[in-house]
């Protein structure tokens, strides 16, 4: 479950923000901000992606790097949201 979800996230970030399928270019704990992977509009793309792929809304107070700024942070955040919804 988590492995699949991480795969989906990684695939999205790799193809849509790093424009590659080279798995070695992205570490799961790498900060999107620090690595310059997203610009000031990039975070909106990430939010759209998780809302569309995982079927929940990201609230204003959840738009935090702690939730959104790496593959690991995203996975933890999505898992938590899903468990609340379940």
């Amino acid at each position: 479950m988590t492995i699949n979800m991480k795969k989906t996230i990684r695939k999205y970030i790799l193809e849509n923000l790093l424009f590659t399928d080279d798995e070695s270019t992205l570490q799961d704990d790498e900060s999107f901000l620090d690595g310059g992977i997203i610009d000031s509009t990039g975070v909106m793309e990430i939010i759209l992606f998780i809302e569309e792929s995982f079927g929940f809304r990201v609230n204003d107070d959840e738009m935090l790097p702690a939730n959104l700024d790496s593959v690991n942070n995203l996975a933890t955040f999505i898992q938590r949201k899903q468990s609340i919804a379940a």
Binding site: E15, N16, L18, F19, T20, D21, L33, G36, I38, D39, S40, T41, G42, V43, M44, E45, L48, F49, D60, D61, E62, M63, L64, P65
Partner: protein
């Protein structure tokens, strides 16, 4: 306006042929459809060419033009707006004129003042002047780069022309795209002057003069943006200074209404063009025709504000409604006209607009460029001010929140956006005194597009674009106020390198229309440069003194309107429906690999994303337009080199 070209011998053995000079004229036909002229020096040391768009002295203004004893010849593109006054002065000095054209004042002014003649000119110009007595050639460009002038060495000859495409017929092989220039374009939006997109082809930089004498080229700066150090600012009350500014703007506008043909104006609905139209209205009784762009895309459309000004001032107006499809279809022709890679489609509607001007029977338009640079209008200047303020207390929680004023979309994500905000805009905060501080966020964001560069291109890059730029700043730069430093960088990179050429002259001239820019009158710039920065930006109120100067002549809503930058749709222009066939062709894996500038796999992922409609990021938009325009430049000027030369002056490449 016109097109100029020519060839000069760099060695005694070299003889210039008239047919060679003539071969450069057809690609300049759009700049001057009303006539051509060639002058060949009897000793074949030089040939000058000219294509003419007649605006002043319609019957007598043929070029190249000469002095009394035909020892000085000039091929000139542009306008000398103070020619009436200058002519009077020169007549008093005993010069005799054979025409009433502004061109002739150049030869006599050169006779009178030598190389200093350029200081006497108020205008926009690219000049090639041959002094046969001293066997020297002068290539001179106006102070801020309104008109273009390019040159290259070809064996023992120097080739020069208003546009790069006029150099091509005299090159022995296709030019090469310069990796360093691509690096600069994908950072600053434009190559750093004197570079062009192409290796070994240069421009005469704005405010500079190139002298060829005894086979040697020497370059000098005759004018540059200059700012006071410490206390050198203009004294006077706000009201007095606002009145002085108004008088200067009124004069700068009224001398730009001098023409033997009717003059129109661009009206965007923003403060600058509205002020300009009000100034014209105040200083001319002739019926004024204005021209505007509307967008299918509502968020970019300014029609409501345009209508307000049209009603308020009672001016005639014609408009184009720009559709996504038009931009996509016209894009190859736009790039062909621009002769460089561009990161935005914004020039394309400007090209359409000049088409409307021409079709309406007008050859000349006044336009509002330069007010933001000279008088302090850009959001970037606010961003710099806020970042400077923040840098004084970097751990402040609320100082960076001021940035929300500039980027309202950040507001929607509540206070939580703070962390993001702090992250994006904290770049370089530890050293706010570094030369490019004001522009770091923009340059950093733009340079993210370099992720699409191929390995080969990256390998060919030596010195980074920013490092190179900061090395070439004038010595006084570091002593200027941070606001003035930001102005300088803006004027020298984006304005000269992109706005006035790719989005300005080249788009106007594509349809044989001349632009005139009252806010770029050097007297206006010199006055504005001596204003205390607090008069340009009062707290975060941009163009403060300019608004004071214009407040009695404009509706309050226009004065108080939040500034909307001119933008055109980028990715949506191509992908909101199926893109024209050339897009797939230019971005095909095969062409990307063969041309070699970009990583085909990465561009492939970008394309997929663009097709899905999920490319929102600035980076994606700039990258896609940048990649596509680079590919088109390679196609037109390298792959199709011979064909482009053959077809030049007869037809422009079509989009499909």
């Amino acid at each position: 306006m016109c097109g100029i070209c020519g060839i000069a011998a760099l060695s005694l053995e070299s003889k210039i042929k008239e047919s060679d000079v003539r071969s450069m004229l057809p690609p300049l036909r759009h700049r001057g459809p009303d006539g051509i002229g060639v002058y060949l020096d009897p000793f074949q040391r030089i040939g000058l060419g000219h294509t003419r768009l007649s605006i002043i002295d319609l019957t007598g203004g043929a070029q190249p033009m000469h002095n009394e004893d035909k020892t000085i010849w000039v091929s000139f593109n542009g306008e000398i707006f103070n020619y009436v006054e200058l002519r009077k002065t020169l007549l008093k000095e005993g010069h005799s004129f054979y025409t009433h054209s502004d061109t002739e004042v150049i030869v006599h002014a050169y006779e009178q003042y030598g190389d200093d003649f350029v200081h006497h000119l108020n205008g926009q110009f690219a000049i090639a002047l041959w002094d046969s007595n001293r066997q020297r050639l002068l290539l001179v460009r106006d102070r801020v780069g309104i008109l273009p002038l390019f040159y290259t060495r070809q064996g023992d000859r120097l080739l020069f022309a208003s546009e790069i495409k006029a150099l091509l017929p005299q090159l022995s092989e296709a030019p090469r795209i310069s990796p360093a220039s691509l690096d600069q374009i994908f950072t600053f939006w434009a190559p750093q002057s004197p570079n062009t997109l192409f290796e070994d082809i240069f421009e005469v930089s704005p405010g500079r003069m190139l002298v060829l004498e005894s086979g040697r080229l020497q370059e000098s700066t005759y004018w540059d943006w200059n700012f006071p150090v410490q206390d050198g600012y203009l004294k006077g009350s706000d009201t007095e200074l606002a009145e002085q500014l108004y008088d200067l703007l009124a004069d700068a506008t009224s001398i730009r209404l001098r023409a033997d043909v009717p003059v129109g104006a661009y009206l965007s609905g923003g403060l600058d063009s509205s002020a300009l139209v009000a100034l014209i209205r105040g200083h001319s009784d002739a019926p004024l025709k204005t021209f505007s762009i509307g967008f299918e895309e509502q968020s970019l459309d300014e029609s409501a504000f345009q209508k307000q000004m049209i009603d308020y001032l009672g001016v005639e107006n014609s408009r184009i409604l720009c559709h996504n499809r038009d931009i996509a279809e016209e894009f190859p022709a736009t790039v062909f006209n621009a002769e460089t890679a561009i990161l935005r489609t914004a020039p394309s509607p400007m090209r359409q607009l000049s088409g409307l001007v021409r079709a309406s029977g007008y050859k000349v338009v006044l336009t509002g460029e330069g007010a933001d640079e000279a008088l302090g209008g850009y959001d970037l200047f606010k961003e710099d001010k806020i970042r400077q303020f923040w840098a004084r207390y970097p751990s402040s929680e609320w100082r960076p929140l001021l940035l929300k004023v500039l980027y309202p979309y950040l507001e929607t994500s509540g206070t939580q956006a703070k962390t993001y905000l702090q992250n994006y805009y904290s770049i370089g905060l530890d050293n706010p005194n570094q030369p490019g501080f004001s522009h770091l966020t923009r340059w950093f964001t733009t340079a993210q597009c370099k992720v699409f560069f191929s390995k080969e291109l990256n390998f060919a890059l030596r010195e980074g674009a920013v490092a190179r730029l900061t090395k070439q700043l004038p010595p006084a730069f570091e002593h200027w106020h941070s606001f003035n430093r930001a102005q300088y960088l803006e004027a020298k990179t984006l304005m000269s390198g992109y706005l006035l050429c790719s989005q300005g002259d080249r788009m106007l001239m594509a349809n044989s229309v001349e632009g005139r820019f009252p806010f770029l009158d050097h007297r206006v710039i010199e006055f504005a440069n001596r204003l205390n920065p607090r008069l340009k930006m009062r707290v975060l109120n941009e163009k403060y003194l300019f608004k004071q100067a214009m407040k009695n002549y404009l509706p309050r809503q226009i004065i108080e309107r939040h500034k909307q930058p001119y933008r055109a749709p980028d990715i949506p222009a191509f992908f909101s429906t199926n893109p024209p066939a050339y897009v797939d062709d230019m971005l095909s894996e095969e062409k990307l690999k063969r041309y070699g500038y970009f990583d085909a796999q990465k561009v492939g992922f970008l394309l997929k994303k663009a097709r899905r409609g999920s490319s929102i990021a600035y980076k994606d938009n700039m990258a896609l337009v940048g990649v596509l325009s680079t590919q088109l430049c390679h196609y037109f000027f390298i792959e199709q080199f011979s064909q482009t030369i053959r077809e030049a002056g007869t037809a422009y490449p079509s989009s499909t």
